[in-house]
Amino acid sequence: MGAIELGPVWLSLQLAAVTVVVLLVVGTPLAWWLAFTRSRFKPGVEALVAVPLVLPPTVLGFYLLILLGPAGPIGRFWVQLTDTALTFSFQGLVVASVIYSFPFAVQPLQNAFENVGRGPLEAAATLGARPLDCFFRVALPLATRGVVTAVVLGFAHTLGEFGVVLMVGGNIPGETRVVSIAIYEHVETLNYAQAHILSAGLLVFSFAVLLGVYVFNRRLPVNRV
Protein backbone atom coordinates (compact mmCIF):
# COMPACT_ATOMS: atom_id res chain seq x y z
CA MET A 1 0.00 0.00 0.00
CA GLY A 2 1.67 3.19 -1.19
CA ALA A 3 1.12 6.83 -0.23
CA ILE A 4 -2.37 8.20 -0.59
CA GLU A 5 -2.83 9.49 -4.07
CA LEU A 6 -4.21 13.02 -3.66
CA GLY A 7 -4.15 14.20 -7.30
CA PRO A 8 -7.47 12.65 -8.35
CA VAL A 9 -9.14 13.69 -5.07
CA TRP A 10 -8.12 17.29 -5.52
CA LEU A 11 -9.19 17.24 -9.16
CA SER A 12 -12.58 15.75 -8.28
CA LEU A 13 -13.23 18.41 -5.67
CA GLN A 14 -12.22 21.16 -8.11
CA LEU A 15 -14.45 19.76 -10.80
CA ALA A 16 -17.40 19.44 -8.43
CA ALA A 17 -16.95 22.97 -7.08
CA VAL A 18 -16.69 24.59 -10.50
CA THR A 19 -19.62 22.52 -11.75
CA VAL A 20 -21.82 23.62 -8.85
CA VAL A 21 -21.05 27.28 -9.46
CA VAL A 22 -21.92 26.94 -13.15
CA LEU A 23 -25.01 24.91 -12.28
CA LEU A 24 -26.29 27.66 -9.98
CA VAL A 25 -25.57 30.44 -12.45
CA VAL A 26 -27.23 28.65 -15.36
CA GLY A 27 -29.76 26.56 -13.47
CA THR A 28 -31.31 29.24 -11.25
CA PRO A 29 -32.77 31.40 -14.04
CA LEU A 30 -34.05 28.28 -15.81
CA ALA A 31 -35.56 26.90 -12.59
CA TRP A 32 -37.18 30.30 -11.99
CA TRP A 33 -38.65 30.32 -15.47
CA LEU A 34 -39.95 26.76 -15.08
CA ALA A 35 -41.49 27.61 -11.70
CA PHE A 36 -43.43 30.65 -12.88
CA THR A 37 -43.99 30.33 -16.62
CA ARG A 38 -47.35 29.63 -18.21
CA SER A 39 -45.63 28.87 -21.50
CA ARG A 40 -46.73 25.84 -23.46
CA PHE A 41 -43.07 24.97 -23.94
CA LYS A 42 -42.66 24.24 -20.24
CA PRO A 43 -43.24 20.44 -20.40
CA GLY A 44 -40.76 20.11 -23.25
CA VAL A 45 -38.08 22.01 -21.38
CA GLU A 46 -38.77 20.03 -18.21
CA ALA A 47 -38.38 16.77 -20.10
CA LEU A 48 -35.16 17.95 -21.67
CA VAL A 49 -33.73 18.93 -18.29
CA ALA A 50 -34.65 15.51 -16.88
CA VAL A 51 -33.18 13.46 -19.73
CA PRO A 52 -29.77 12.91 -18.02
CA LEU A 53 -31.65 11.17 -15.19
CA VAL A 54 -32.69 8.29 -17.40
CA LEU A 55 -30.05 8.10 -20.13
CA PRO A 56 -27.13 5.73 -19.64
CA PRO A 57 -24.07 7.92 -19.02
CA THR A 58 -22.41 6.31 -22.01
CA VAL A 59 -25.14 7.62 -24.34
CA LEU A 60 -24.81 11.11 -22.93
CA GLY A 61 -21.02 10.80 -23.06
CA PHE A 62 -21.12 9.63 -26.65
CA TYR A 63 -23.17 12.57 -27.87
CA LEU A 64 -21.14 15.00 -25.78
CA LEU A 65 -17.98 13.56 -27.30
CA ILE A 66 -19.36 14.28 -30.76
CA LEU A 67 -20.65 17.76 -29.83
CA LEU A 68 -17.55 18.80 -27.92
CA GLY A 69 -14.98 17.17 -30.21
CA PRO A 70 -12.94 19.43 -32.47
CA ALA A 71 -15.21 18.46 -35.38
CA GLY A 72 -18.41 19.03 -33.39
CA PRO A 73 -20.23 22.37 -33.45
CA ILE A 74 -19.43 23.36 -29.87
CA GLY A 75 -15.92 21.89 -29.94
CA ARG A 76 -15.03 23.70 -33.15
CA PHE A 77 -16.21 27.00 -31.68
CA TRP A 78 -14.15 26.33 -28.54
CA VAL A 79 -11.04 25.59 -30.61
CA GLN A 80 -11.48 28.87 -32.51
CA LEU A 81 -11.95 30.72 -29.24
CA THR A 82 -9.15 29.22 -27.15
CA ASP A 83 -7.00 27.17 -29.51
CA THR A 84 -7.48 24.12 -27.25
CA ALA A 85 -9.78 21.15 -27.54
CA LEU A 86 -12.72 20.67 -25.19
CA THR A 87 -12.60 16.90 -25.19
CA PHE A 88 -10.10 15.29 -22.85
CA SER A 89 -9.68 18.56 -20.95
CA PHE A 90 -10.83 19.88 -17.59
CA GLN A 91 -13.05 22.47 -19.30
CA GLY A 92 -14.73 19.72 -21.29
CA LEU A 93 -15.33 17.79 -18.10
CA VAL A 94 -17.01 20.86 -16.57
CA VAL A 95 -19.34 21.18 -19.55
CA ALA A 96 -20.18 17.48 -19.43
CA SER A 97 -20.66 17.50 -15.66
CA VAL A 98 -22.96 20.49 -15.79
CA ILE A 99 -25.20 18.80 -18.34
CA TYR A 100 -25.06 15.47 -16.53
CA SER A 101 -25.93 17.01 -13.13
CA PHE A 102 -28.37 19.59 -14.49
CA PRO A 103 -31.60 17.92 -13.25
CA PHE A 104 -30.11 17.44 -9.79
CA ALA A 105 -29.75 21.19 -9.41
CA VAL A 106 -32.68 22.50 -11.46
CA GLN A 107 -35.39 20.30 -9.99
CA PRO A 108 -34.82 21.19 -6.30
CA LEU A 109 -34.54 24.87 -7.24
CA GLN A 110 -37.72 24.72 -9.31
CA ASN A 111 -39.60 22.98 -6.48
CA ALA A 112 -38.36 25.53 -3.99
CA PHE A 113 -39.42 28.49 -6.15
CA GLU A 114 -42.81 26.88 -6.77
CA ASN A 115 -43.25 26.51 -3.03
CA VAL A 116 -42.40 30.16 -2.49
CA GLY A 117 -45.08 31.01 -5.04
CA ARG A 118 -46.16 34.33 -6.42
CA GLY A 119 -47.63 35.53 -3.12
CA PRO A 120 -44.53 36.85 -1.34
CA LEU A 121 -43.15 38.22 -4.62
CA GLU A 122 -46.31 40.20 -5.29
CA ALA A 123 -46.26 41.45 -1.71
CA ALA A 124 -42.64 42.54 -2.11
CA ALA A 125 -43.47 44.32 -5.36
CA THR A 126 -46.30 46.30 -3.78
CA LEU A 127 -43.81 47.28 -1.06
CA GLY A 128 -41.59 48.85 -3.69
CA ALA A 129 -39.11 46.05 -4.36
CA ARG A 130 -37.79 45.74 -7.89
CA PRO A 131 -37.58 42.25 -9.45
CA LEU A 132 -33.93 41.53 -8.51
CA ASP A 133 -34.56 42.94 -5.04
CA CYS A 134 -37.56 40.56 -4.74
CA PHE A 135 -35.37 37.67 -5.81
CA PHE A 136 -32.45 38.22 -3.47
CA ARG A 137 -34.31 39.48 -0.42
CA VAL A 138 -37.48 37.38 -0.54
CA ALA A 139 -37.39 34.46 -2.96
CA LEU A 140 -33.86 33.24 -2.25
CA PRO A 141 -34.12 33.32 1.56
CA LEU A 142 -37.42 31.46 1.35
CA ALA A 143 -35.91 28.91 -1.03
CA THR A 144 -32.78 28.22 1.09
CA ARG A 145 -33.57 24.52 1.50
CA GLY A 146 -33.89 24.11 -2.25
CA VAL A 147 -30.62 25.93 -2.88
CA VAL A 148 -28.76 23.80 -0.33
CA THR A 149 -30.23 20.64 -1.83
CA ALA A 150 -29.26 21.74 -5.33
CA VAL A 151 -25.68 22.53 -4.27
CA VAL A 152 -25.19 19.27 -2.41
CA LEU A 153 -26.78 17.02 -5.02
CA GLY A 154 -24.94 18.80 -7.81
CA PHE A 155 -21.65 18.48 -5.94
CA ALA A 156 -22.09 14.87 -4.89
CA HIS A 157 -23.39 13.75 -8.24
CA THR A 158 -20.40 15.29 -9.98
CA LEU A 159 -18.03 13.56 -7.57
CA GLY A 160 -19.66 10.25 -8.33
CA GLU A 161 -19.89 10.42 -12.08
CA PHE A 162 -17.92 7.91 -14.10
CA GLY A 163 -19.30 7.01 -17.49
CA VAL A 164 -19.55 10.50 -18.91
CA VAL A 165 -16.08 11.39 -17.64
CA LEU A 166 -14.62 8.30 -19.18
CA MET A 167 -16.20 9.05 -22.55
CA VAL A 168 -15.44 12.78 -22.68
CA GLY A 169 -12.41 13.16 -20.43
CA GLY A 170 -10.46 9.96 -20.58
CA ASN A 171 -7.80 9.43 -17.94
CA ILE A 172 -5.21 12.21 -18.04
CA PRO A 173 -3.52 12.78 -14.64
CA GLY A 174 -4.03 16.32 -13.38
CA GLU A 175 -6.47 17.10 -16.14
CA THR A 176 -9.26 14.53 -16.24
CA ARG A 177 -8.22 11.74 -13.89
CA VAL A 178 -10.84 12.15 -11.19
CA VAL A 179 -11.39 9.83 -8.23
CA SER A 180 -13.90 7.53 -9.87
CA ILE A 181 -11.60 6.98 -12.87
CA ALA A 182 -8.62 6.41 -10.59
CA ILE A 183 -10.56 3.81 -8.61
CA TYR A 184 -11.55 2.04 -11.83
CA GLU A 185 -7.95 1.94 -12.98
CA HIS A 186 -6.70 0.66 -9.62
CA VAL A 187 -9.20 -2.15 -9.73
CA GLU A 188 -8.31 -2.98 -13.34
CA THR A 189 -4.66 -3.22 -12.35
CA LEU A 190 -5.54 -5.21 -9.21
CA ASN A 191 -4.23 -2.44 -6.96
CA TYR A 192 -6.98 -3.03 -4.40
CA ALA A 193 -5.26 -1.18 -1.57
CA GLN A 194 -5.40 2.18 -3.40
CA ALA A 195 -8.90 1.41 -4.64
CA HIS A 196 -9.95 0.79 -1.04
CA ILE A 197 -8.50 4.05 0.19
CA LEU A 198 -10.19 6.16 -2.48
CA SER A 199 -13.48 4.26 -2.33
CA ALA A 200 -13.75 4.41 1.45
CA GLY A 201 -12.80 8.07 1.35
CA LEU A 202 -15.52 8.82 -1.17
CA LEU A 203 -18.04 6.80 0.83
CA VAL A 204 -17.27 8.55 4.11
CA PHE A 205 -17.17 11.96 2.49
CA SER A 206 -20.51 11.44 0.74
CA PHE A 207 -22.18 10.21 3.89
CA ALA A 208 -20.79 13.11 5.93
CA VAL A 209 -21.99 15.69 3.44
CA LEU A 210 -25.49 14.26 3.20
CA LEU A 211 -25.71 13.94 6.98
CA GLY A 212 -24.66 17.56 7.29
CA VAL A 213 -27.38 18.61 4.85
CA TYR A 214 -30.14 16.70 6.60
CA VAL A 215 -29.13 18.09 9.98
CA PHE A 216 -28.98 21.60 8.54
CA ASN A 217 -32.35 21.26 6.86
CA ARG A 218 -33.89 20.03 10.09
CA ARG A 219 -32.62 23.08 11.94
CA LEU A 220 -33.67 25.47 9.23
CA PRO A 221 -37.13 26.84 10.02
CA VAL A 222 -39.77 25.77 7.58
CA ASN A 223 -40.92 29.04 6.10
CA ARG A 224 -44.58 28.52 5.58
CA VAL A 225 -45.88 31.19 3.26
Partner: protein, 388 residues
Protein backbone atom coordinates in the same frame (compact mmCIF):
# COMPACT_ATOMS: atom_id res chain seq x y z
CA UNK B 1 -59.76 63.64 -2.28
CA UNK B 2 -58.10 61.56 -4.98
CA UNK B 3 -59.62 60.58 -8.28
CA UNK B 4 -59.04 57.03 -9.39
CA UNK B 5 -59.99 56.65 -13.04
CA UNK B 6 -60.37 53.04 -14.14
CA UNK B 7 -61.39 51.66 -17.51
CA UNK B 8 -60.17 48.09 -17.72
CA UNK B 9 -60.92 44.67 -19.13
CA UNK B 10 -59.58 41.40 -17.82
CA UNK B 11 -60.39 37.93 -19.13
CA UNK B 12 -59.33 34.73 -17.42
CA UNK B 13 -60.95 31.48 -18.44
CA UNK B 14 -64.69 31.96 -18.15
CA UNK B 15 -64.36 35.00 -15.95
CA UNK B 16 -64.66 38.48 -17.43
CA UNK B 17 -64.03 41.72 -15.56
CA UNK B 18 -65.14 44.93 -17.22
CA UNK B 19 -64.92 48.00 -15.04
CA UNK B 20 -65.27 51.58 -16.17
CA UNK B 21 -65.71 54.26 -13.52
CA UNK B 22 -64.15 57.29 -11.93
CA UNK B 23 -63.94 56.91 -8.17
CA UNK B 24 -63.68 59.94 -5.93
CA UNK B 25 -61.71 58.48 -3.06
CA UNK B 26 -61.98 59.95 0.38
CA UNK B 27 -61.92 58.03 3.62
CA UNK B 28 -62.91 54.42 3.14
CA UNK B 29 -64.63 53.26 -0.03
CA UNK B 30 -66.02 49.73 0.07
CA UNK B 31 -65.82 47.44 -2.94
CA UNK B 32 -68.71 45.13 -2.25
CA UNK B 33 -70.23 42.16 -4.02
CA UNK B 34 -70.75 38.42 -3.79
CA UNK B 35 -67.88 35.94 -4.10
CA UNK B 36 -66.63 35.71 -7.67
CA UNK B 37 -67.85 39.20 -8.57
CA UNK B 38 -64.33 40.30 -9.44
CA UNK B 39 -63.53 42.41 -6.38
CA UNK B 40 -60.08 40.99 -5.78
CA UNK B 41 -59.28 41.04 -9.50
CA UNK B 42 -60.21 44.71 -9.66
CA UNK B 43 -57.87 45.49 -6.77
CA UNK B 44 -55.08 43.49 -8.40
CA UNK B 45 -55.54 45.34 -11.67
CA UNK B 46 -55.29 48.67 -9.86
CA UNK B 47 -52.10 47.47 -8.15
CA UNK B 48 -50.56 46.36 -11.44
CA UNK B 49 -50.49 42.69 -10.45
CA UNK B 50 -52.58 41.53 -13.43
CA UNK B 51 -50.32 41.83 -16.42
CA UNK B 52 -53.00 40.61 -18.83
CA UNK B 53 -55.40 43.42 -17.94
CA UNK B 54 -56.11 45.85 -20.74
CA UNK B 55 -57.22 49.43 -20.51
CA UNK B 56 -56.42 52.45 -18.45
CA UNK B 57 -55.76 53.19 -14.77
CA UNK B 58 -54.85 56.62 -13.43
CA UNK B 59 -54.66 58.02 -9.92
CA UNK B 60 -54.91 61.78 -9.80
CA UNK B 61 -52.74 63.06 -12.62
CA UNK B 62 -50.52 59.99 -12.55
CA UNK B 63 -51.02 57.46 -15.34
CA UNK B 64 -50.42 53.91 -14.12
CA UNK B 65 -51.59 51.93 -17.08
CA UNK B 66 -52.68 52.67 -20.61
CA UNK B 67 -52.56 49.68 -22.89
CA UNK B 68 -53.16 51.80 -26.00
CA UNK B 69 -50.37 54.19 -25.05
CA UNK B 70 -48.13 51.27 -24.06
CA UNK B 71 -47.88 52.46 -20.49
CA UNK B 72 -47.59 49.87 -17.71
CA UNK B 73 -46.10 51.19 -14.50
CA UNK B 74 -44.93 48.08 -12.57
CA UNK B 75 -46.43 47.38 -9.17
CA UNK B 76 -43.26 48.39 -7.35
CA UNK B 77 -43.45 51.94 -8.76
CA UNK B 78 -47.15 52.64 -8.14
CA UNK B 79 -46.93 54.15 -4.64
CA UNK B 80 -49.78 52.15 -3.22
CA UNK B 81 -50.20 49.97 -0.18
CA UNK B 82 -51.73 46.53 -0.66
CA UNK B 83 -53.01 44.42 2.23
CA UNK B 84 -53.63 40.89 0.99
CA UNK B 85 -56.37 38.67 2.31
CA UNK B 86 -53.71 36.24 3.53
CA UNK B 87 -51.47 39.15 4.68
CA UNK B 88 -48.35 37.66 3.07
CA UNK B 89 -45.91 38.71 5.75
CA UNK B 90 -42.39 37.52 4.94
CA UNK B 91 -41.93 34.46 7.15
CA UNK B 92 -38.14 34.72 7.15
CA UNK B 93 -38.20 38.21 8.66
CA UNK B 94 -39.31 39.40 12.09
CA UNK B 95 -42.18 41.87 12.37
CA UNK B 96 -39.60 44.65 12.52
CA UNK B 97 -37.86 43.20 9.47
CA UNK B 98 -41.14 43.21 7.60
CA UNK B 99 -41.78 46.84 8.50
CA UNK B 100 -38.23 47.88 7.62
CA UNK B 101 -38.50 46.10 4.27
CA UNK B 102 -41.23 48.56 3.32
CA UNK B 103 -39.75 51.61 5.03
CA UNK B 104 -36.28 51.22 3.48
CA UNK B 105 -37.66 50.92 -0.04
CA UNK B 106 -39.97 53.86 0.46
CA UNK B 107 -37.03 55.95 1.63
CA UNK B 108 -34.87 54.86 -1.29
CA UNK B 109 -37.66 55.40 -3.79
CA UNK B 110 -38.64 58.78 -2.52
CA UNK B 111 -35.25 60.19 -1.67
CA UNK B 112 -36.23 61.97 1.52
CA UNK B 113 -38.48 60.84 4.36
CA UNK B 114 -41.38 58.53 3.87
CA UNK B 115 -43.86 61.40 3.75
CA UNK B 116 -42.25 62.69 0.59
CA UNK B 117 -45.36 63.64 -1.35
CA UNK B 118 -46.61 66.01 1.30
CA UNK B 119 -43.74 68.35 0.60
CA UNK B 120 -45.00 68.89 -2.92
CA UNK B 121 -43.48 67.28 -5.91
CA UNK B 122 -40.06 67.97 -7.27
CA UNK B 123 -41.76 66.31 -10.20
CA UNK B 124 -44.51 68.91 -10.04
CA UNK B 125 -47.19 66.51 -8.89
CA UNK B 126 -50.28 68.14 -7.47
CA UNK B 127 -50.48 67.15 -3.86
CA UNK B 128 -51.92 70.18 -2.11
CA UNK B 129 -55.43 68.80 -1.80
CA UNK B 130 -54.25 66.09 0.52
CA UNK B 131 -52.74 68.54 2.94
CA UNK B 132 -55.89 70.58 3.31
CA UNK B 133 -57.91 67.44 3.88
CA UNK B 134 -55.72 66.09 6.61
CA UNK B 135 -53.72 68.95 8.05
CA UNK B 136 -52.84 67.06 11.22
CA UNK B 137 -52.12 63.72 9.56
CA UNK B 138 -48.83 62.35 10.88
CA UNK B 139 -46.25 61.24 8.39
CA UNK B 140 -46.09 57.55 7.72
CA UNK B 141 -42.82 57.30 9.62
CA UNK B 142 -41.79 54.11 11.38
CA UNK B 143 -42.48 55.41 14.92
CA UNK B 144 -45.85 56.89 13.92
CA UNK B 145 -47.00 53.69 12.25
CA UNK B 146 -45.75 51.48 15.09
CA UNK B 147 -47.68 53.63 17.54
CA UNK B 148 -50.88 53.91 15.54
CA UNK B 149 -51.14 50.18 14.98
CA UNK B 150 -49.79 49.14 18.42
CA UNK B 151 -46.93 47.14 16.95
CA UNK B 152 -44.30 47.93 19.58
CA UNK B 153 -44.64 44.66 21.48
CA UNK B 154 -44.63 42.60 18.29
CA UNK B 155 -41.43 43.93 16.71
CA UNK B 156 -39.14 41.07 17.73
CA UNK B 157 -41.59 38.29 16.86
CA UNK B 158 -41.71 36.07 13.79
CA UNK B 159 -44.92 36.08 11.75
CA UNK B 160 -45.68 32.43 12.53
CA UNK B 161 -46.04 33.30 16.21
CA UNK B 162 -48.66 36.00 15.64
CA UNK B 163 -52.43 35.70 15.93
CA UNK B 164 -54.65 36.41 12.93
CA UNK B 165 -55.48 39.90 14.14
CA UNK B 166 -51.84 40.73 14.85
CA UNK B 167 -50.86 39.52 11.40
CA UNK B 168 -53.33 41.88 9.74
CA UNK B 169 -52.16 44.78 11.90
CA UNK B 170 -48.56 44.18 10.84
CA UNK B 171 -49.65 43.84 7.20
CA UNK B 172 -51.48 47.18 7.38
CA UNK B 173 -48.53 48.84 9.06
CA UNK B 174 -46.14 47.44 6.49
CA UNK B 175 -48.30 48.69 3.61
CA UNK B 176 -48.66 52.09 5.27
CA UNK B 177 -44.87 52.46 5.53
CA UNK B 178 -44.58 52.62 1.76
CA UNK B 179 -46.07 56.13 2.07
CA UNK B 180 -48.90 55.11 -0.24
CA UNK B 181 -51.16 57.51 -2.08
CA UNK B 182 -53.91 54.92 -1.80
CA UNK B 183 -54.38 51.78 0.28
CA UNK B 184 -55.95 48.66 -1.20
CA UNK B 185 -57.33 46.22 1.39
CA UNK B 186 -58.50 42.83 0.18
CA UNK B 187 -60.88 41.31 2.76
CA UNK B 188 -58.40 41.82 5.60
CA UNK B 189 -60.92 40.65 8.20
CA UNK B 190 -62.28 37.58 6.46
CA UNK B 191 -60.07 35.11 8.32
CA UNK B 192 -60.91 36.53 11.74
CA UNK B 193 -63.66 35.62 14.18
CA UNK B 194 -66.18 38.27 15.27
CA UNK B 195 -64.29 39.40 18.34
CA UNK B 196 -60.99 39.78 16.48
CA UNK B 197 -62.78 41.67 13.73
CA UNK B 198 -64.08 44.18 16.26
CA UNK B 199 -60.52 44.63 17.54
CA UNK B 200 -59.06 45.30 14.10
CA UNK B 201 -61.72 47.64 12.73
CA UNK B 202 -60.49 50.74 14.61
CA UNK B 203 -57.04 50.22 13.08
CA UNK B 204 -58.52 50.10 9.58
CA UNK B 205 -60.25 53.37 10.33
CA UNK B 206 -56.97 54.94 11.39
CA UNK B 207 -55.46 54.35 7.95
CA UNK B 208 -57.95 56.75 6.43
CA UNK B 209 -58.56 58.85 9.55
CA UNK B 210 -55.20 59.52 11.18
CA UNK B 211 -52.99 59.12 8.14
CA UNK B 212 -55.38 60.57 5.57
CA UNK B 213 -54.72 57.82 3.04
CA UNK B 214 -57.78 56.97 0.95
CA UNK B 215 -58.70 53.30 1.30
CA UNK B 216 -60.35 50.92 -1.14
CA UNK B 217 -61.73 48.13 0.99
CA UNK B 218 -62.86 44.87 -0.59
CA UNK B 219 -65.39 42.82 1.34
CA UNK B 220 -68.36 40.54 0.83
CA UNK B 221 -69.65 41.32 4.31
CA UNK B 222 -72.35 43.99 4.29
CA UNK B 223 -71.86 44.73 7.98
CA UNK B 224 -68.25 45.72 7.32
CA UNK B 225 -69.45 48.02 4.54
CA UNK B 226 -71.94 49.74 6.81
CA UNK B 227 -69.49 49.94 9.66
CA UNK B 228 -66.43 51.22 7.83
CA UNK B 229 -67.26 52.88 4.56
CA UNK B 230 -68.77 56.18 3.60
CA UNK B 231 -69.21 55.30 -0.05
CA UNK B 232 -69.28 52.04 -1.92
CA UNK B 233 -68.82 50.36 -5.26
CA UNK B 234 -71.07 47.41 -5.96
CA UNK B 235 -69.72 44.68 -8.21
CA UNK B 236 -71.65 41.77 -9.68
CA UNK B 237 -70.48 39.24 -12.23
CA UNK B 238 -67.44 41.26 -13.18
CA UNK B 239 -69.33 44.48 -13.75
CA UNK B 240 -70.07 47.68 -11.89
CA UNK B 241 -73.64 47.36 -10.60
CA UNK B 242 -73.86 50.60 -8.63
CA UNK B 243 -71.81 53.18 -6.77
CA UNK B 244 -72.62 55.92 -4.30
CA UNK B 245 -73.13 56.57 -0.62
CA UNK B 246 -73.41 53.50 1.57
CA UNK B 247 -76.82 54.26 3.07
CA UNK B 248 -78.63 54.99 -0.18
CA UNK B 249 -76.96 52.18 -2.10
CA UNK B 250 -77.84 49.54 0.49
CA UNK B 251 -81.43 50.81 0.55
CA UNK B 252 -81.94 50.49 -3.20
CA UNK B 253 -84.51 47.75 -3.68
CA UNK B 254 -83.41 46.81 -7.20
CA UNK B 255 -79.94 46.01 -5.83
CA UNK B 256 -81.19 43.57 -3.22
CA UNK B 257 -80.43 40.55 -5.37
CA UNK B 258 -76.80 41.59 -5.03
CA UNK B 259 -76.65 43.22 -1.61
CA UNK B 260 -78.71 40.37 -0.23
CA UNK B 261 -82.45 40.35 0.35
CA UNK B 262 -82.17 38.86 3.83
CA UNK B 263 -79.59 41.42 4.77
CA UNK B 264 -82.02 44.19 3.90
CA UNK B 265 -82.00 46.93 6.40
CA UNK B 266 -81.03 50.49 6.79
CA UNK B 267 -78.24 52.68 8.00
CA UNK B 268 -78.81 55.31 10.69
CA UNK B 269 -76.49 58.18 11.44
CA UNK B 270 -75.87 58.86 15.09
CA UNK B 271 -73.61 60.76 17.47
CA UNK B 272 -72.00 58.74 20.21
CA UNK B 273 -72.59 59.92 23.77
CA UNK B 274 -71.18 58.70 27.04
CA UNK B 275 -70.27 55.09 27.73
CA UNK B 276 -71.05 53.82 31.20
CA UNK B 277 -71.53 50.34 32.68
CA UNK B 278 -70.74 48.76 29.35
CA UNK B 279 -73.47 50.67 27.51
CA UNK B 280 -73.14 53.62 25.14
CA UNK B 281 -75.83 56.26 24.54
CA UNK B 282 -76.33 57.29 20.94
CA UNK B 283 -78.14 60.31 19.63
CA UNK B 284 -80.23 59.57 16.56
CA UNK B 285 -81.90 62.74 15.33
CA UNK B 286 -82.57 63.84 18.90
CA UNK B 287 -83.72 60.42 20.10
CA UNK B 288 -81.60 58.31 22.42
CA UNK B 289 -80.53 54.76 21.75
CA UNK B 290 -78.70 52.56 24.24
CA UNK B 291 -76.32 49.96 22.86
CA UNK B 292 -73.52 47.79 24.30
CA UNK B 293 -70.31 49.82 24.42
CA UNK B 294 -69.01 50.46 20.92
CA UNK B 295 -65.66 51.84 22.00
CA UNK B 296 -65.72 55.31 20.52
CA UNK B 297 -65.32 58.59 22.35
CA UNK B 298 -68.28 60.90 22.99
CA UNK B 299 -69.11 63.20 20.09
CA UNK B 300 -67.96 60.77 17.41
CA UNK B 301 -70.29 60.37 14.48
CA UNK B 302 -71.16 56.74 13.84
CA UNK B 303 -73.18 54.73 11.35
CA UNK B 304 -75.57 52.10 12.63
CA UNK B 305 -76.73 49.28 10.47
CA UNK B 306 -80.10 47.98 11.48
CA UNK B 307 -81.46 44.89 9.85
CA UNK B 308 -85.16 44.88 9.00
CA UNK B 309 -85.72 41.64 10.91
CA UNK B 310 -84.35 43.24 14.08
CA UNK B 311 -86.97 46.01 14.08
CA UNK B 312 -90.50 45.54 15.43
CA UNK B 313 -93.27 48.17 15.60
CA UNK B 314 -95.73 49.14 18.32
CA UNK B 315 -98.68 51.55 18.07
CA UNK B 316 -98.06 52.90 21.61
CA UNK B 317 -94.86 53.42 23.57
CA UNK B 318 -94.37 50.01 25.15
CA UNK B 319 -93.87 49.61 28.91
CA UNK B 320 -92.15 46.77 30.80
CA UNK B 321 -90.39 45.34 27.75
CA UNK B 322 -86.92 43.81 27.48
CA UNK B 323 -86.24 45.68 24.25
CA UNK B 324 -84.76 48.96 25.46
CA UNK B 325 -84.94 51.08 22.37
CA UNK B 326 -88.20 52.50 21.13
CA UNK B 327 -87.96 55.37 18.66
CA UNK B 328 -91.00 57.45 17.68
CA UNK B 329 -91.42 57.10 13.93
CA UNK B 330 -93.84 57.60 11.09
CA UNK B 331 -94.92 54.66 8.97
CA UNK B 332 -94.09 55.80 5.48
CA UNK B 333 -95.02 52.78 3.43
CA UNK B 334 -96.00 49.14 3.65
CA UNK B 335 -94.23 47.06 1.04
CA UNK B 336 -95.43 43.55 0.46
CA UNK B 337 -92.64 41.06 0.10
CA UNK B 338 -92.85 37.29 -0.06
CA UNK B 339 -95.71 35.97 2.09
CA UNK B 340 -96.24 35.90 4.97
CA UNK B 341 -93.99 38.92 5.53
CA UNK B 342 -94.26 42.60 4.73
CA UNK B 343 -91.65 45.29 4.99
CA UNK B 344 -92.39 48.60 6.66
CA UNK B 345 -90.49 51.75 5.80
CA UNK B 346 -90.29 54.01 8.84
CA UNK B 347 -89.18 57.61 9.14
CA UNK B 348 -87.39 58.68 12.33
CA UNK B 349 -87.02 62.46 12.09
CA UNK B 350 -85.85 62.23 8.53
CA UNK B 351 -83.84 59.01 8.83
CA UNK B 352 -85.09 55.79 7.31
CA UNK B 353 -85.55 52.52 9.13
CA UNK B 354 -86.91 49.23 7.78
CA UNK B 355 -88.94 46.70 9.70
CA UNK B 356 -89.87 43.20 8.65
CA UNK B 357 -93.10 41.94 10.26
CA UNK B 358 -95.79 39.44 9.36
CA UNK B 359 -98.74 40.43 7.22
CA UNK B 360 -100.96 39.13 10.00
CA UNK B 361 -99.45 41.61 12.46
CA UNK B 362 -100.11 44.51 10.08
CA UNK B 363 -103.77 43.51 9.82
CA UNK B 364 -104.21 42.92 13.56
CA UNK B 365 -102.68 46.27 14.45
CA UNK B 366 -104.55 48.00 11.62
CA UNK B 367 -101.36 49.65 10.41
CA UNK B 368 -101.71 52.16 7.58
CA UNK B 369 -99.33 54.49 5.83
CA UNK B 370 -98.81 57.86 7.51
CA UNK B 371 -99.53 56.53 10.98
CA UNK B 372 -97.24 57.33 13.97
CA UNK B 373 -95.64 54.23 15.49
CA UNK B 374 -92.77 53.24 17.73
CA UNK B 375 -89.86 51.34 16.23
CA UNK B 376 -88.49 48.74 18.63
CA UNK B 377 -84.86 47.88 18.03
CA UNK B 378 -82.89 45.14 19.71
CA UNK B 379 -79.70 46.59 21.13
CA UNK B 380 -77.57 43.87 19.66
CA UNK B 381 -78.45 44.88 16.12
CA UNK B 382 -75.98 47.73 15.92
CA UNK B 383 -72.71 48.25 14.19
CA UNK B 384 -71.04 51.59 14.59
CA UNK B 385 -68.64 53.44 12.41
CA UNK B 386 -66.14 56.18 13.02
CA UNK B 387 -66.26 59.07 10.59
CA UNK B 388 -63.22 61.08 9.76
Amino acid sequence: MSTLAIDIRLARGDFRLRFDAELQLEGITAVFGPSGAGKTSLLRVIAGLEKEAEGRVALGGELWQDTDGNVMVPAHARHLGFVFQDARLFPHLSVEGNLLFAAERARRRNGVGAGWWRAGGADGREVGARETNAPTAPETSLPAVIQALDLKDLLGRKPDTLSGGEIQRVAMGRALLTAPRIMLLDEPLSALDLRRKAEIIPYVERLAGDFGVPVLYVTHNVDEVARLASSMVLLAEGRLAAMGGVAETLERVELWPITGRLEAGSVLEAIAGETRDGMTSLDVAGETLRVPAIGVSAGTQVHLRVQARDVAVACERPERLSIRNALPATLVSIQFSEAPFVELLLDVHGQHLRSRVTREAVEDLGLREGQPVFALIKSVAFEGRLLN
